[in-house]
Amino acid sequence: MKNSVGIVTPQTLHVRQPLQMVSGSVLPEYDLVYETYGQLNSQKTNAILICHALSGSHHVAGYYEIDGVQSKEAGWWNDYIGPGKPIDTDEFFVVCSNNLGGCNGSTGPASINPETGKVFGPDFPIVTVEDWVNSQNELRQHLGIKQWAAAIGGSMGGMQVLQWSIAYPDAVKHALVIAAAPKLSAQNIAFNEVARRAIMTDPDFHNGRFIEMGTTPKRGLALARMLGHLTYLSDDMMGAKFGRELREGKLSYSFDVEFQVESYLRYQGEKFATKRNFDANTYLLMTKALDYFDPASHFDNNLSAALAHAKAEFLVVSFTTDWRFAPERSHEIVKALLDNDARVSYAEVESEHGHDAFLLPNAHYEGIFRAYMKRVIQHVHSQEVAAP
């Protein structure tokens, strides 16, 4: 519990304002589930927004209490959020919401469609990164926050942070874009498509109506997760961790699990499909949202033009062995920001952990994160002095 935000409880914001979505659909009303850590100061200037990645949720730090017992697993960014940690909850009021279309409480495919009284399932409208940011902006207004002291996110979360800086330039003071890309490459989209096909071709998928049918497309989900997991790791890291090590010590010349890495991947897939109980339709929606994201497309494919009105100060971070969102992809973001004379810093962190590195402890990453967040703290404090 040391340096932990401790036991946390999610809250729900019910938005009655209809959400006009990019796809053309309208959500008449919806729930956003979110968690907060730390205290909002009297001037409401110390709020940090965390945007979550594909399989993440609003549970970003701390523990839940289930039947009076503290849960074993902490929030997904517990290493970096808490008292004295880089995102210091003694200084900041940290907010993270579950993305719309998610499966952890916010309105999504597993929710009841008020119009039909049945589960949305495949009828849940296609969501985009823009829709997420617009819905998070409702949460910002609900909390009475004028400007996030910082919006922070890794991977898909980094894309949301970029979108925040474009769509609401006055509402973000600092933008931390970590292990992200300004749009997916053809290869990224291809991986997503294979993951989706794995889910959609599972006989238990029932065209997305698996909840009504009382089934779960576990095999498809597990395959999707195995593929995803594979792309998040680096070859070096897998080599170091598993090599060609055999499970039984000798080859059996069969299609059973023989290599340790096979066993590991199957375990990860199973865990995701069964224990996490991740909604298959949510997986489809989130990967699609990633595929669609391309802010430059509205500006003649010019990312610099897309970021021209951003007012935030930026920290961009990449990881050397991340081949899903390689450092070159972060360079594109940095270059576009430099074209606009934006205040931007960039760090390329040495890590063997591939894309997953953004979630893991690392001295250089932590140092950069901490140094930058000190700057954010200074800014918050300078506002306090400036206030009448």
Binding site: L315, K335, L338, D341, Y346, G367, A371
Partner: protein, 204 residues
């Protein structure tokens, strides 16, 4: 490679118009940029490869881009004439191709300010002449085998390179290791000067 000390900052600041836009290559802990920001209201970026120094530069409030000067990515990041000045203190001698880097610097900056230690200083010449060994001095405190300084040159060498590349030397100050200048240094810079500050630009 020695860390630039404060007097060098003052000399550089003297050469810089207030409110300029500056790129500092090999910015280290960002002290020069913070000095220029505080004294001349300069804006801009630092570039630095060392992770520890990157963190220090960030702490100093500098916008720092982690970059390897040998990768020649300056021109990928910045367009032509993006900066009023591109500064590089005590780093020319550590890069793999100082001549190409000089081209990169003059592409993205209107003027460049470069400082480097002089291998033509009398102490260097004497150590090599009398001892027959690679010189080790306060300015260059390394053995020949562990030195990061792989491209040592003299002031004359540098000026020859500038002439060959059609680069104009706009200004030059020659100082000792304490960043002081004497009459002797003015008369015999390549013998008596330990460190030189050059301001150069493309010949029109």
């Amino acid at each position: 490679m020695t860390t630039p000390i404060r007097p060098e900052f003052e000399l550089i600041a003297d050469w810089i118009q207030p409110n300029s836009h500056v790129l500092d290559l090999g910015c280290g802990d960002g002290k020069l940029l913070t000095y220029l920001r505080d004294h001349s209201n300069v804006s801009g970026y630092g570039m630095e490869i060392d992770p520890i120094k990157n963190i220090k530069a960030l702490e100093a409030g500098v916008n720092v881009i982690q970059s390897d000067l040998n990768s020649h990515d300056i021109c990928d990041y910045f367009d032509k004439d993006s900066f009023d000045y591109v500064i590089m203190t005590q780093a020319l001698q550590v890069v793999s191709r100082p001549d190409i880097l000089l081209d990169d610097m003059l592409a993205v900056g209107k003027q460049c300010i470069i400082t480097f230690p002089n291998f033509g200083h009398w102490r260097m010449r004497l150590q090599l002449l009398w001892n027959g060994r690679m010189p080790e001095t306060d300015t260059l405190p390394y053995h020949w085998y562990d030195t990061p300084n792989i491209h040592m040159c003299t002031f004359n060498d540098f000026e020859d390179l500038c002439a060959a590349k059609n680069i104009e030397v706009v200004d030059r100050t020659v100082v000792n290791s304490n960043h002081q200048t004497t009459l002797g240094m003015k008369l015999l810079p390549n013998w008596l000067g330990e460190v030189a500050l050059y301001k150069v630009q493309r010949k029109i």
